[in-house]
Point group: C2
Chain length 231, copies 2
């Protein structure tokens, strides 16, 4: 049962690979489709091999996933450097860029969803990758400077990724292609409020911001995060 897939940069041509590579590709697709609970049986069926061969080549499920993780990250980075900087001024939607392929996008969301170190690492990676782009838009006079660029970066990224995560959770039976289609539709629906908030804000007065600035003083505090980590 083959599925139509959006071309992914860096993806292997098609079938007729070594069985090991076929298993890895099948695993990426199954993990994207069902989450990391996908069984060896499911993956083996998709790769057209026996379940035992998976263990033979990868040793353990943990190792298999680790290899899939690095492969997905590699393609994700390839796509990023490959492509133009996102054409719309809207931030962060390169994560929802349809060019990266539905499996790739959903796989990454599942990494965050599954949590743990993998999620942390990808989020840090994303923050790092977005930092320059954000600074560039500020430099270009498109985006207002923030009194705490790092905090704003994290704030915006967590919110965007989180919204995609919520949407993924509400569609447990959707294929990656279906999810991406729905996410794009949802993004279209929410384009107006997003532009409103990013252009006009939400509040009618400056009072709350000014009160906050009076209260804490302008310079951002850098010690707060350490407290949170130890709590």
């Amino acid at each position: 049962m083959l599925v139509v897939r959006i071309a992914s940069p860096g993806a292997v041509p098609e079938s007729d690979l070594t069985a090991r590579a076929r298993i890895r590709e099948a695993a990426i697709a199954c993990f994207a489709a069902e989450g990391f609970g996908a069984s060896f049986a499911t993956i083996a069926k998709r790769a057209d091999v026996s379940p035992g061969l998976i263990t033979h080549h990868f040793g353990s499920k943990t190792s298999l996933r680790a290899e899939c993780d690095v492969e997905v990250l590699r393609r994700y980075q390839a796509m990023k450097t490959d492509g133009v900087a996102n054409p719309s001024g809207s931030l962060l939607d390169h994560v929802a860029d349809p060019r990266i392929g539905a499996d790739l996008l959903v796989y990454i969301l599942r990494v965050v969803h599954s949590g743990g170190r993998g999620a942390q690492e990808f989020l840090e990676h994303l923050v790092d990758a977005t930092r320059e782009a954000m600074a560039a838009t500020v430099e270009a006079g498109i985006v207002r400077p923030s009194r705490d660029e790092e905090a704003r970066l994290r704030y915006l990224i967590y919110q965007s990724i989180g919204a995609l995560l919520v949407e993924l959770a509400t569609m447990p039976d959707a294929s990656p292609d279906q999810f991406v289609a729905a996410a794009l539709a949802s993004q279209r629906d929410q384009m107006l409020p997003m532009l409103e908030v990013f252009t006009e804000g939400l509040f009618t007065t400056r009072q709350m911001l000014d009160d906050y600035l009076d209260y804490v003083g302008d310079p951002p505090r850098e010690d707060a995060r350490a407290d949170a980590a130890t709590a």
Copy 2:
């Protein structure tokens, strides 16, 4: 092994309940602490009963969770009507209100995280519950009116819940109390960018919003959501 818990409105006094209720309370705590993968053995140990008794009283794990779900929702609603409207003007943080108790908050996040119908229902419920509050702040002149109030409501809710979800995912080994402490610290860290964005917006010009309004015309489209659902 007893844990210190923040008082939850509507929560039962303490121990010395019927075993059935003890199991339910233990299940809520375990589901909050470990997710819905928590085993009967873990729950039984916490309730100080045998695993078999859980099946005897609840029949299946699905039924047990269903009963926990309604109980948590009941307490959540009790807390909402109980309390004052959120004192800060910031929206949606009643979800992170420490008064609702760490277990309750994390349980609800895990419902969304686990996805499916439960997640959908809670999100719809949350949208409904926030609609009035949002309208009130608009009416009071605190929040700007939107050209599409429903879309903005969904947009803001999905982003806020999603950010909490991301944070939960990055702390897989944290207890509910630890998570709530970290979430509050994180909220404090991100207060400034949030106030900035909600007060001043993100863009320096109105150009993108105005272009969008020119392109689609002012009246919001109501047919888009149906397309997304059937996709």
